[in-house]
């Protein structure tokens, strides 16, 4: 029998049982659709995180007390101004070093109030990180050295407190102390459900006075180039360790952060895909089941075809192709459904979803494979029927 003929016979058989074929396909549609959607969500999240970490700037080194690992509790910092001076000395240039002292505080303007991250920083922040100021200006060295009560607002803070009005030159109250707004950041947007524009920068010295502390929480150092970054990290950690012998410090690069985050998100994506894979398995078992029913129902037809000259492999092929058609048509519908749902999610919600060709190709390949794997047993059973027995069956 010609292959084209076998496809036609298989397609005819599916058409003869439209409802049953459709319901069997539904299992595949759901399974394949779920794989496509979940992989798109995983990939989208990974892309977003990557873009964010890369968007911080290039050749960045983040220096924090304690160890950077998943199960380590965040350490309380005992770093202070003299450590900052030491780091600047090693980095060779004050403009290469950013520092932060962070605290959650309420900020008020008139009747409006918002809870935000308050960061005590140096004027060097925009030189180390890529941060654009939309209106007004950033802090100056004089602001930092004289401990002025001036603030730069994140865009969502500005929006909540001042609406459409221009905040520059206005007063805000932070932890009961009045500050003058001198600038507003350009928006960064949301990421993983967190508003990245909900922060306020004030001079480090002002923040230390406000919070009654001498500490700083973390440094960020911009290396001159990619080659020197590891060495610089080791030097800084060594110096900090010398100054605080009973404490540990870590210096991590963006690449290392991406690696860790990528691993976490990769595992997450794989787990999601595996869960979706189980529904594919269930769909495959459904196909197997329906094909066995079909073989039983059409035993007389099989007997007749054999009497007329069909070989066991002709009969087997007919049923195998039927199973493959069921799963691949179901798979294509599932891909269409998954792609549609992913695009809709990306367009209509803040949840990131990124389609990749490999996941679509994989979903299609898996659909075919499921048809072959779960169609083989029914096909063999059909091909092995005894023509005399098959012809007599009711």
């Amino acid at each position: 029998m010609r292959l084209a003929e076998a496809w036609r016979v298989a397609l005819d058989a599916l058409r003869a049982n439209r409802l049953r074929s459709g319901l069997t396909m539904l299992g595949m549609v759901i399974g394949v659709g779920a794989v496509v959607i979940l992989v798109a969500l995983g990939t989208g999240t990974k892309n977003e995180v990557q873009a964010q970490v890369e968007g911080l700037g290039s050749n960045l080194l983040l220096v924090v007390p304690g160890q950077v690992s998943l199960n380590a509790a965040p350490a309380v910092s005992r770093l202070d101004q003299s450590d900052l001076d030491a780091v600047i000395r090693i980095a060779g240039d004050r403009d290469r070093v950013a520092v932060s002292l962070t605290s959650g505080e309420n900020v008020r303007a008139g009747k409006e109030q918002v809870f935000t991250s308050l960061l005590g920083v140096l004027e060097t922040t925009p030189k180390v990180f890529l941060r654009d100021v939309r209106a007004g200006a950033y802090l100056t060295r004089t602001d930092v050295e004289t401990g002025r009560r001036v603030a730069v607002l994140g865009s969502s803070v500005a929006k909540t407190l001042f609406g459409e009005r221009d905040p520059v030159g206005q007063q805000v109250t932070i932890a009961g102390v009045r500050f003058r707004v001198i600038g507003v950041f350009a928006p960064l947007g949301q990421s993983l459900g967190v508003d990245r524009d909900n922060e306020v920068h004030i001079p480090l010295s002002t923040a230390q006075r406000l919070l009654a502390t001498k500490r700083v929480d973390a440094f960020a150092v911009k290396a001159p180039d990619a080659e020197t970054i590891d060495r610089l990290g080791r030097d800084i950690v060594a110096e900090l360790h010398r100054r605080h012998p009973d404490e540990e410090f870590s210096a991590v690069t963006q690449e290392q952060i991406l690696g860790v985050l990528g691993d976490i998100l990769g595992v997450l994506t794989a787990v999601l895909a595996a869960i979706a894979g189980i529904s594919l398995l269930v769909g495959g078992v459904g196909v197997s089941n329906i094909m066995l029913v079909s073989v039983r129902e059409r035993t007389r037809e099989i007997g007749l075809r054999m009497a007329l000259g069909a070989r066991p492999r002709d009969i087997g092929l007919q049923f195998l192709l039927e199973a493959v058609l069921l799963t691949t048509i179901g798979g294509l519908l599932g891909i269409a459904f998954g792609v549609g749902a992913s695009l809709a999610t990306a367009a209509l919600s803040p949840v990131p979803a990124a389609l990749t060709w490999w996941s679509i190709a994989l979903a299609f390949g898996v659909s075919c494979a499921v048809g072959i794997v779960f169609g083989v047993v029914p096909a063999q059973r059909a091909g092995r029927l005894d023509p005399v027995v098959a012809l007599r069956s009711e």
Binding site: M1, R2, E5, D12, A16, R300, E301, G303, L304, R305, M306, A307, L308, G309, A310, R311, P312, R313, D314, D386, P387, V388, L391
Partner: protein, 243 residues
């Protein structure tokens, strides 16, 4: 005739194993179906007529004995080789027609040619010619449920003949038809036998029908108890076998 017989069975037996008990359905049958013969097989129910037809048609393998179909010994043939042999040599007509219900008369007739690897066009041409031959040109696009029983059996006969087999095996082909329709079907078979030269082997319960065949084989209890060909052999020089 120096050419080999269409089908040759020598001491063929077929035993079924049923729940560990062996049931002998055929107990040693020897017979030859020559090209162009017209044979009726009669006998009481359970005497092994259908079992014999299955063996002669290559649907089943004998438990013992030698069986040659179209000159080929079936011993040791694989299922695929048997399928090929059936397609090349045998046409089947069943009591219950066995037409594919969702398929037109034309495509039903063309079905055996699918397993010869013929293209759709060629298949349809040959099938159409065969339907014309059985007088159903005007029913080409009809499905079995749009045809009368007699018409359905004629479609089945066209399907059996479209491969131009050496032998047509018909197991009670009129069993599901009324008297008049059955007679017409039998007449068609006789006509094809004379005109096309295809050997026809017919199982029937009807004495009159059997009498119209040139040769009668009577079975009882898995054995051939009489075969008019054997009687004729002794008097073969005397000319034609009397009806």
């Amino acid at each position: 005739m120096t050419q080999h017989a269409a089908i040759e069975a020598i001491d063929v037996a077929r035993t079924y194993a049923l729940d560990g008990v062996s049931v002998p359905a055929l107990r040693g049958v020897t017979l030859t179906i020559a090209h162009g013969e017209h044979v009726a097989v009669v006998g009481p129910s359970g005497s092994g007529k259908s079992t014999l037809m299955h063996l002669l048609g290559g649907l089943d393998q004998p438990t013992s004995g030698r069986l040659r179909i179209g000159g080929r010994d079936v011993a040791g043939l694989t299922a695929a080789e048997m399928a090929h042999l059936r397609n090349a040599t045998i046409g089947f007509v069943f009591q219950s027609f066995h037409l594919l219900s969702r398929t037109s008369a034309l495509d039903n007739v063309a079905l055996p040619l699918v397993y010869r690897g013929l293209g759709a066009r060629e298949r349809r041409e040959q099938a159409a010619r065969m339907l014309e031959r059985v007088g159903l040109s005007h029913r080409i696009g009809h499905r079995p449920n749009q045809l009368s029983g007699g018409e359905q059996q004629r479609v089945a006969i066209a399907r059996a003949l479209v491969t131009e087999p050496a032998v047509l095996l018909a197991d009670e082909p009129t069993g599901n038809l009324d008297q008049a329709t059955g007679a017409a079907v039998l007449e068609l078979l006789e006509q094809l036998n004379t005109a096309e030269g295809v050997a026809v082997v017919l199982v029937t319960h009807d004495r009159e029908v059997a009498a119209r065949a040139r040769r009668q084989i009577t079975m009882r209890d898995g054995r051939v108890v009489s075969d008019t060909a054997d009687d004729a052999e002794t008097a073969s020089d005397a000319g034609e076998v009397p009806r």
